[in-house]
């Protein structure tokens, strides 16, 4: 098709710089982790080979399952809401709102802050005795709510902080997707008598599908990897009810000195994420190319 086709050579050459860095600082340590997952290792002594024992143990570990469940809880809550929020924000920002430009900046700014800053700030806002949300509730005559200390609310509180923090990122991607839809399509629909709701559901949503898929895949991966904001805001509590899998992986490795077991759990999580992402791409990605 292209004269003088040297696709493979070019492909490899262009990929090389990345692959070098990727191999040294990602693949190699990752393979080391896989290797060590078959050992009992406390980091400071020599590892002892134990074969599949770590994996067998983790499949019988109630704490592994509860931690995985909390991670899944987080994924299931945050993914749809963050996609909807991002999309809604993008609609506002690309719409006829007088302050669209300002809104776009405002929605995106939280993303600039580091996880520690966001989590500490929201932990302060939601603090039971002196945080401002409860102060407002008290002023209105209500009772204090343990946003982060009550099992009913803790996970949702962390999710809310996450919405504020990262919705702007999805907004940026959706905005780019929406702007790619040619104006003429909307204009002819308007001429045909479609109102704004119909235009949105029949034009915007279908045509922005590739972006939606992109956002969905990225969001799911990011949510599976959640750790920092939960750790800072609730410490995995109350009573370990928000402990996500990465926290358990971290604690097992660095507080309990069971690095082999920690590595085994990391691999199981990694495989789960891989399967989910490939499945998403296979089911949804194909539709995009059609």
């Amino acid at each position: 098709m292209i004269p003088g086709n040297r696709d493979t050579r070019d492909g490899i050459l262009f990929s090389l710089p990345f692959l070098v860095v990727f191999f040294f600082f990602m693949v190699y340590p990752l393979l080391f982790g896989l290797y060590i997952s078959f050992f009992k290792w406390n980091i400071l002594s020599s590892p002892t080979f134990i074969g599949w024992k770590n994996y067998v143990d983790l499949f019988r570990d109630a704490k592994f399952y509860s931690s995985l469940l909390h991670t899944l809880e987080f994924v299931v809550i945050t993914t749809p809401i963050l996609l909807l929020l991002g999309f809604a924000m993008a609609l506002v920002v690309t719409g006829k709102s007088p302050m669209a430009g300002l809104l776009e900046t405002v929605f995106f700014i939280p993303y600039i802050f580091s996880m520690t800053v966001v989590a500490t700030l929201w932990a302060w806002i939601m603090q039971k005795d002196f945080g401002i949300i409860n102060q407002a509730i008290l002023l209105l005559g209500g009772q204090r709510i343990g946003w982060l200390t009550d099992e009913k609310y803790a996970m949702w509180s962390v999710c809310i902080a996450t919405f504020w923090w990262t919705a702007g990122f999805n907004m940026v991607l959706f905005t780019a997707g929406i702007k790619q839809i040619p104006q003429e399509v909307y204009e002819s629909a308007e001429i045909d008598g479609a109102n704004s709701w119909q235009r949105m559901t029949h034009i915007t949503i279908p045509l922005v599908a590739p972006t939606t898929v992109l956002c969905l895949i990225l969001q799911v991966i990011a949510s599976f990897n959640v750790f920092g904001q939960v750790y800072v805001m609730t410490g995995g509590g109350p009573a370990g009810s928000t402990r996500v899998l990465i926290q358990y992986i971290y604690e097992t490795g660095f507080q309990y000195f069971r690095m082999g077991y920690s590595a085994a759990m990391s691999y199981v999580l990694f495989v789960i994420m891989l399967i989910v992402s490939v499945a998403q791409y296979a089911v949804l990605g194909k539709r995009k190319e059609a």
């Binding site: 980091i43 400071l44 109350p238 009573a239 370990g240 077991y261």
Partner: protein, 421 residues
């Protein structure tokens, strides 16, 4: 446009390079030996500790200590990783409870040959022996920090209470009177994870077990030992204060407990001695401190931690640096009255005898608690046992679970954990 962005980037990068590289110091043999130290003390504790290091540096010319703070949550991660590559600093602080993770694999230097007998005899023997493994000494304790209780004198006066409670029943009775007469909380024991775990709840449980003549684990540390009447008594007390008598707030986290006491909202506040430094700064808080009483009538034991100073082994151990490190450790422990400003109990008898120490308020009231300080069980499984039991106790208290069921479950979980190590 893009060119301008790139230009600004490069400009910033250049500035960054020029300023980001610190000046290299060359050391000649006339200059003091420079040592590095990683401190896990941040915030208020950190200020006191840094002041001590500054005084150490100013007091002599042979050793200069450079200190880097690492937030407590991440300190051990960083230390362990560095020890794995043998790039740890010259001196480190290590909780006594964590020594077991580092000593058996040779991460710390044995100190016996560097410290003379007079110095060793100056130490309180209990905390010093806790730093010995297989007969060898691997660190020197800087302090002992047990759980004590603080009381609000104004509230007690208002409620007409003249003697401090000394048993579980006393606490319940007094707290009920306080609630009636003043409307304030009787007890402030944190029972929920916030920024920090529910430390006090867990530590009180440990203390009570030992006070009753039992122990959390069997003496060989191989099995749980709390699923019995002693455990029931302890857990019931902790649960009932919150749920039945309502003299202790529910869903109270560590920071909230301290803040409530600071604001004069509670009469009896349970925490480690380190809280003294902070409480002293609160204007208008008229408080006292006392060692933990024997809740169930037998002995006065109290959970205690201990910060110890150790010397990591290096690939090429420089004997000059080791000597300098020993000098530093000896100086720091000998000047424990400075560290006591943060509230901690010093470990050297010479320090306890100093006038400057005796002049510090409150510390004298609980310095005796060092005798009844209860170290953590010596097992590699301890960190996991501690963290997991804390979660389970939290659940039992805040959800008002059935005591016997909760203890039975906790026993099962703890035994499972022990079997993994």
């Amino acid at each position: 446009m893009k060119k301008r962005i790139v230009f600004v980037f490069v400009l910033l990068l250049t500035i960054g390079i020029l300023f980001a590289q610190p000046a290299q110091e060359t050391s000649s043999s006339d200059k003091p030996v420079e040592l590095t130290f990683w401190s896990l003390f941040t915030g208020g504790d950190g200020e006191f500790f840094d002041a001590m290091i500054k005084e150490f540096n100013e007091s002599q010319n042979e050793v200069k200590m450079v200190n880097s703070m690492v937030k407590f949550d991440d300190y051990y991660t960083k230390l362990t990783t560095a020890l794995a590559a043998k790039t740890a600093p010259d001196v480190v602080v290590c909780h006594q409870a964590n020594l077991l993770n580092y000593v058996p694999n040779g991460s710390f230097l044995a100190l016996d040959q560097y410290i003379d007998k007079t110095t060793l005899d100056d130490f309180q023997q209990e905390p010093l022996n806790a730093c010995r493994f297989d007969g060898k000494l691997y660190s020197l304790p800087l302090d002992v920090h047990p759980i004590v209780f603080y009381y609000n004198k104004d509230i007690l006066k208002e409620a007409g209470i003249t003697t401090l409670p000394s048993s579980a029943e006393d606490f319940i009775k007094d707290s009920q009177i306080i609630k009636e007469k003043t409307g304030k909380w009787g007890m402030l024991v944190d029972n929920t994870t916030g920024t920090y775990k529910a430390y006090t709840l867990t530590r009180l449980f440990f203390s009570m077990m030992k006070q009753e003549g039992g122990s959390f684990l069997t003496s060989d540390n191989k099995k749980a030992n709390f699923n019995n009447e002693k455990g029931v008594a302890a857990l019931n007390f902790l649960k009932d204060t919150v749920n039945t008598y309502k003299i202790n707030p529910d869903q109270l986290d560590y920071d909230a407990a301290m803040n409530q006491f600071k604001l004069g909202e509670g009469a009896f506040y349970f925490n480690g001695v380190w809280a003294t430094g902070t409480l002293e700064t609160v204007k208008g808080l008229n408080f006292g401190a006392a060692p933990l009483p024997a809740f169930f009538g037998k002995e006065d034991w109290a959970w205690a931690g201990s910060h110890t100073l150790a010397i990591p082994t290096q690939k090429n151990q420089d004997p000059k640096k080791v000597q300098a490190a020993v000098k530093f450790i000896e100086w720091m422990t000998a000047h424990g009255e400075l560290w006591a400003k943060a509230g901690h109990i010093p470990t050297r008898k010479s320090v306890a005898a100093k006038d400057s120490f005796k002049a510090l308020p409150y510390r004298a009231d609980y310095v005796g608690a060092a005798q009844y300080a209860m170290p953590s069980p010596s097992t590699a499984a301890w960190n996991e046992i501690y963290g997991t039991s804390s979660d389970l106790l939290e659940a039992a208290v805040t959800k008002n679970q059935d005591t016997k069921t909760a203890l039975a479950n906790m026993e099962k979980v703890v035994n499972e954990i022990i079997s993994k190590y």
